[in-house]
Every structure is written in structure tokens, then in C-alpha cells.
Amino acid sequence: MNLLLFGLLNIIGILLALVIGAALLTWIERRLLGFWQDRRGPNRVGPFGSLQVVADMIKILFKQDWIPPFADRYVFVLAPAVVMVAGLLGFAVIPVTPSIGIAGNWNIGVLFFLAMASLSVYSVVLAGWASNSKYSLLGGMRAAAQMVTYEVFMGLSLIGVVMLSGSFNLTDIVRAQRNIWFIIPQFIGFIVFLMAGIAETHRLPFDLPEGENELGAGFHTEYSGMKFGMFFIGEYIGILLTAAMITVLFFGGWEGPFLPPILWFMLKLSVFVIFFILLRAALPRPRYDQLMSYGWKVLLPLSLLNVVITGAVMLASGPAG
């Protein structure tokens, strides 16, 4: 009974923290972008503008929930839900600390994360398809191609980590980094995973599916009100998820001296979230063919090379496997 209560508390706590954190990120992002562009960002509502989130929420909830008459109604409604569900489910396998985390000790954690990351592609593709408008369709097609490309070596880049730690279990992966963070032996893997993670969350500079200048808003051109809000929050949950995965896989998760584990995790997580926002502030969007050729011709060979080198070093350094 006590265990059940603890589990429920864990689930509800993480869910609430995620949704609230993702909503707050909209404000944090705008604020940071403001600073990086020598502006102030939203600073009027509440202390430092932090209640801007509430204002935005009230506004977006009271918007007319309009479905275009030419759209495929059911798929159109389903699409934004998929991105939320996939993002939130992906978080289930993240071990925040040894005790906080829903299924952090699951023996196929890495695979589950990859599966959920792939599932969120459906949301974008279905949205683009169901909208029945050319910009949305183009955005959806781009998203599909981009996701399929980057999915491949997102998985491959993690193989090095799995080889070193000898487990798909994320808690074990964190424990294996007690002596040395995996970013040092797995630097190439880290770079590739970072790129793939940005592409998976379709954030700038890889946000071609929603490139404003050429596609209107890409796959969510036809969306408005809270359904658009779901895509928006889903994107931020994606950022949080990717940042959390980077933390767990390459930066030793909750491990760290002096501070309690949860603070270490939050600290590392926020560094990567801020880095994601910095990427948006600084880098322009590549051309679509550049994006694809970069993926297939640079990152895929790089991740394969990483697997080979990791294997060779492990073989040479001792009877590990």
C-alpha cells in the first residue's frame, strides 16, 4: 500500500513538474532570447514576467477551437495529443534520482526512449496530412524525412554508451558513470546524439518542418487554440526529454558531490535546456538538402565509426565482454 502511494506520488509529481516546467519554458525561452538579442523579453506580468505563462494560457484556452472544414477531423484532433503522450511517456524511463523516476530501473529504458521518440514523429506527420493544406503537407513530409534520417544514428550513437555500461537500463548507465562521465570516452557519440536530439525535437537550427519563412508554420499551419498549444508544449517537453537523456547518458545523471542528487540533475538539465535556446538564438536554418546530406554523409558514418572505435578499444583494453 505504501509502495503504491509512493509510486502514484512519483507519477503525479513528475507529470505535474513536466507540464508546468514545459509551460514555464515558454517564458524562459522568450526571456533568454530577449537577453541574447539585447532586449528584455516579457517582464510585465508578475515577478520578472513569470506569470506571462498564465496570461498566455488563459488566452490560448479561450481561443475558438476551430477545425478547418477541409481537414480530416479525427486525425486532426488526434495529432496534437500524440506528441504530448509520446513526450510524457518517454519521460517515464528517466531516472531523476535513484528514488524519483517512474520506470528508471527498466531493463529496456534506452529502447523505450527511442521508441517514444519515433512515435512522436507520427504526430507531426499526421498533423501535416490531416490538415489537408499544402504547407502543412510539405512540413509533414519534411518532418518525416528528417526524423527517419536522424532516428537512425540517434540509436546508433547510443550504442557506444550501452557497450561501455553493458546495459540498456538507464539507472545502470548512470551508475556506470560514477568514475568518469561518458562524454569523455563517448565524445563523438555525444555530438551525434546532440545533433539528432535537436533534429528530433525539430528545434532551430533543424526546424525545417515548421520553417516560417517558406512554409507558413509548417505542419501546424492550420492549428489554433489549445491544439496549437499542445504542439507547443509538446515541443518543450521534447526539449526537456532530450536534455534529460543527454544528462543521464553522457553527464552522469544525478551523480555529483555536495549537492543532493535532484539538484545535480536539475542543474545539468537546465544547462542543456539553455543550450538549446542558445542554439535557437544564434544559428540560422540550413537548407533542406544540406540537412539531409549532413545527416546521411557525415553523422551516420561518424556514429558507425564511434561504434567501431568503442568496440576496438574495449576489445583491446581487457576482457570486458
Binding site: 530577449g34 537577453f35 541574447w36 538579442q37 539585447d38 532586449r39 528584455r40 542558445l278 542554439l279 538564438a281 544564434a282 544559428l283
Partner: protein, 170 residues
């Protein structure tokens, strides 16, 4: 690749720059004296209305937001009414350029929001100010050579008496 990293770093450094924002309601921006804001009708140094209802401003206005009616009083022309619809006005300043008497002037004031649109239609009493605006010395009737009560032709500043065309002498 290296240039991307450099861009990231340079953008990050902007965190420590001062922001360029002028936080408007608390911190008023500087507006140049010739800023094109709210339109006023000015008076000449004697306190009389400068506007002579020549209609040039109404003609020059590209959005036709000025409407006025001429009336005459003791040899002088006045506008009987003078109306500017500020919900139409684009603050281009063409009326100011067209005005031969410096009567219509744009001022550095833009805070004229209203909750109801018809309140943006300014009548003559709303537009008329008590001062001379940007040209403190200028008085149209003192330089134009027109006869008005109390001043005949040729009696104004820098004027000579009019030439009599019927005489042969210079």
C-alpha cells in the same frame, strides 16, 4: 562548424550586454521637435488664428482625413469648422508642408488612444492651441501684402507701398 561555435559564443556574451529597450510608460523616449505626432492649429503672435481656410491641407492629405469650411470675417478668411479624423490620419506631415501660413503643425505627441473611435475625430476647438507652435515670429498677414482691417497694402514688414500702374514715373 567553427564559425557556428563562434556565433554561439558571441551570442552568449550578449547576456552581459545592456538591453536597448526603452521601457516606455515608465521611461519616456526622446522625441525630436520635428516628430510627426498629434496635429495642432496654431495662432499668430497676435493671438489670431493662422488658418486662412485655403483647403491646401485637405487637398494634400492622402487619406482625406481633413475636412473644413471657409467663412469670412472683416476681410479675413477663417475656418468655420476644422475637423481631423485621427483614426484615418497617417501622420505623413503633407498637410504641414502644404500649409502656406504655418497654421497646421505636427507635434511630438502620440499618446492619443481612445476607447471609442468617434472620439478620435478632433474638432477645431480640440486642435487649436493658444501659442505659435514651431514658428514663434511668423504672422501671415504681416508679410503677405494683403489688406486687412488696421493694415493696408504695403504697410506690413519688408513691404513697399504698391506700385501705381497708371503713372509713367517709376
Amino acid at each position: 562548424m567553427l564559425s557556428s561555435i563562434r556565433t554561439l559564443w558571441l551570442t552568449f556574451l550578449h547576456l552581459f550586454h545592456r538591453s536597448e529597450t526603452v521601457e516606455y510608460p515608465e521611461q519616456m523616449p526622446y522625441l525630436a521637435p520635428r516628430y510627426r505626432g498629434r496635429i495642432v492649429l496654431s495662432r499668430d503672435p497676435d493671438g489670431a488664428e493662422r488658418c486662412v481656410s485655403c483647403y491646401l491641407c485637405a487637398v494634400a492629405c492622402p487619406v482625406s482625413c481633413i475636412s473644413l469650411q471657409k467663412t469670412e470675417d472683416a476681410g479675413r478668411w477663417y475656418p468655420a469648422y476644422f475637423r481631423i479624423n485621427f483614426s484615418r490620419c497617417i501622420f505623413c506631415g503633407f498637410c504641414e508642408e502644404a500649409c502656406p501660413t504655418y497654421a497646421i503643425q505636427l507635434t511630438p505627441d502620440f499618446e492619443m488612444s481612445e476607447y471609442e473611435r468617434h472620439n478620435l475625430v478632433y474638432e477645431k476647438e480640440d486642435l487649436l492651441i493658444s501659442g505659435t507652435g514651431k514658428y514663434p515670429e511668423y504672422s501671415f498677414y504681416n508679410v503677405s501684402g494683403l489688406a486687412i482691417p488696421g493694415k493696408d497694402k504695403g504697410e506690413a514688414e519688408h513691404e513697399r507701398p504698391p506700385v501705381d500702374p497708371r503713372t509713367l514715373l517709376p
